[in-house]
Subunit: 327 residues, 2 copies
Amino acid sequence: MKHMLLAAAALSLAVPALAQDAAPAPSPGEIAAAAPASDWIAIAPSELLVMDLAPDAKGQARRIVIQLMPAPFSQGWIGNIRKLAAAHWWDGTSVNRVQDNYVAQWGDATEKKALPAGLATMPESEYVTPTRGTGGTNTSVTQDGRPLAMSWSGKSPGWSWIDADDAYSTKRSFFRGWAFVSVDGKIGWPVHCYGAVGVGRNMSPDTGSGAELYAVIGHAPRHLDRNIALVGRVISGIEYLSSLPRGTEALGFYKTEAERMPITSIRIADELAAADQPKFEYLSTDSDSFARYADARANRRDPFFITPAGGADICNIPVPVRQVAAK
Amino acid sequence: MKHMLLAAAALSLAVPALAQDAAPAPSPGEIAAAAPASDWIAIAPSELLVMDLAPDAKGQARRIVIQLMPAPFSQGWIGNIRKLAAAHWWDGTSVNRVQDNYVAQWGDATEKKALPAGLATMPESEYVTPTRGTGGTNTSVTQDGRPLAMSWSGKSPGWSWIDADDAYSTKRSFFRGWAFVSVDGKIGWPVHCYGAVGVGRNMSPDTGSGAELYAVIGHAPRHLDRNIALVGRVISGIEYLSSLPRGTEALGFYKTEAERMPITSIRIADELAAADQPKFEYLSTDSDSFARYADARANRRDPFFITPAGGADICNIPVPVRQVAAK
């Protein structure tokens, strides 16, 4: 008996023994892996936030890489994050809260460390953004002939939406590798999916500076959409946050200093030595490869599955990201 | 500055200083906590699967409690699980696979341990169940006057559904404390939410015996619905699974024996000594309290939130469960 699989996505599939056998349908991951190099877009070091935790008990490095969102979303907070990283503000801070099926959160546990000068105070209106626009190229992502999502590759804000009701929104789109949703098509917002990175805040009208950040480590808490700023997503190393012990205080805060996970440094990648800069690329959401990948996420036809779902919520269509060797 | 909160659900709220101040709206958790005792239903020990992992480095016990599903769902597999537990079959086995944002899976890593006699082989048709029926009482769970879900309290299979499109299903209902969904209203199925426990299997037509189990530790993998048997949900101790180190082999399997987490025992709770039997109860999904809780999950009005979502996916309306002191 083989290991029970649950899903065969990561397995290489044997070539059929008989010529008349149809090849098994590829999994979403196999579709992405087979995409031509031209469908993959390099992520600039300036768009990567690199967070190094203290090494583990065996001395192994624990590096988390966060991709920051592109304009026009959340740029005020992201500007603050760039200033905080340039000031090496997070060095010596810690992960202070890990709440099961919710978030891991980091920053200054003392809450007394002075912030760098010149941070912007963002208004709540920046949780969303106008999405009407002109120009650009719309690419339809289809699912058995029905639209699944639209991707928009223009240079100014603007989307074509497809109708996709998921209890939190009625329209969705991809913009330069990021999922966004809307209700009315006039304003859109990014989505609290697994791995999303957001800005901790106090009660309204506070919107947070960006010094206190969290990553989603559970089922998408979509009720936070439009209530808090999202600034990026973890593209590598989420397991160093999601497998931390859960805090036992209210909201998952750690009770003692000893429980906190020290942060060695957080940098924008272009401040690192060239050899130490992580290199990642994402699958263009404008590509045919992405369209086929998204369709396969919604309709699993690879051999393990017997009943394709016929749809997928936006958080179950994660944009493929892969690490590439440094040059 | 207070700890950045992200969500204030667990905080006690101060009484307003001025009589004319409206009391802050309660959070979903506060609504559940305020429900009368008569709205809480005891879970019989015969419906609890108790899984003890090896103690942690400090000698602390690690107990996971799983509530098994009621009839008519998945009863063939659950019957097998009762036989496996009665035979103490899992004692000395281990958690062998932890895949980030997906599942933790346990069973016999050697895959050579003989199964007890008399286990049923279940057909794939049992992944779903007919849900037409008569009798029973339907309770409407409303959301700002709109239906959010129906709960059904009758004794034979039968549901009233509400229309709630979430990309995977178009109708949903609660049955004796469990969420179920449907597309056509004629067949329904349980849902792969965070904490759901299912039966690992090989390729179709295998459906698994129940000896290999998994728990969901990430965003709801709803594409597994109707493709694999669900048998219960973790109601306590999920953090002992979700915070385990992720496996580095394909599909998150651990590479070495040393990485596996030993299972000391798995028992149906009524086999334990009376004093060791965990006592839990769930909030009746037929109660007004649950209706208000579900409404508040979809429309957060507690002070942290500025824009209620206006809806909630079925996995973001977890049925409240609480531990009660042993008598």
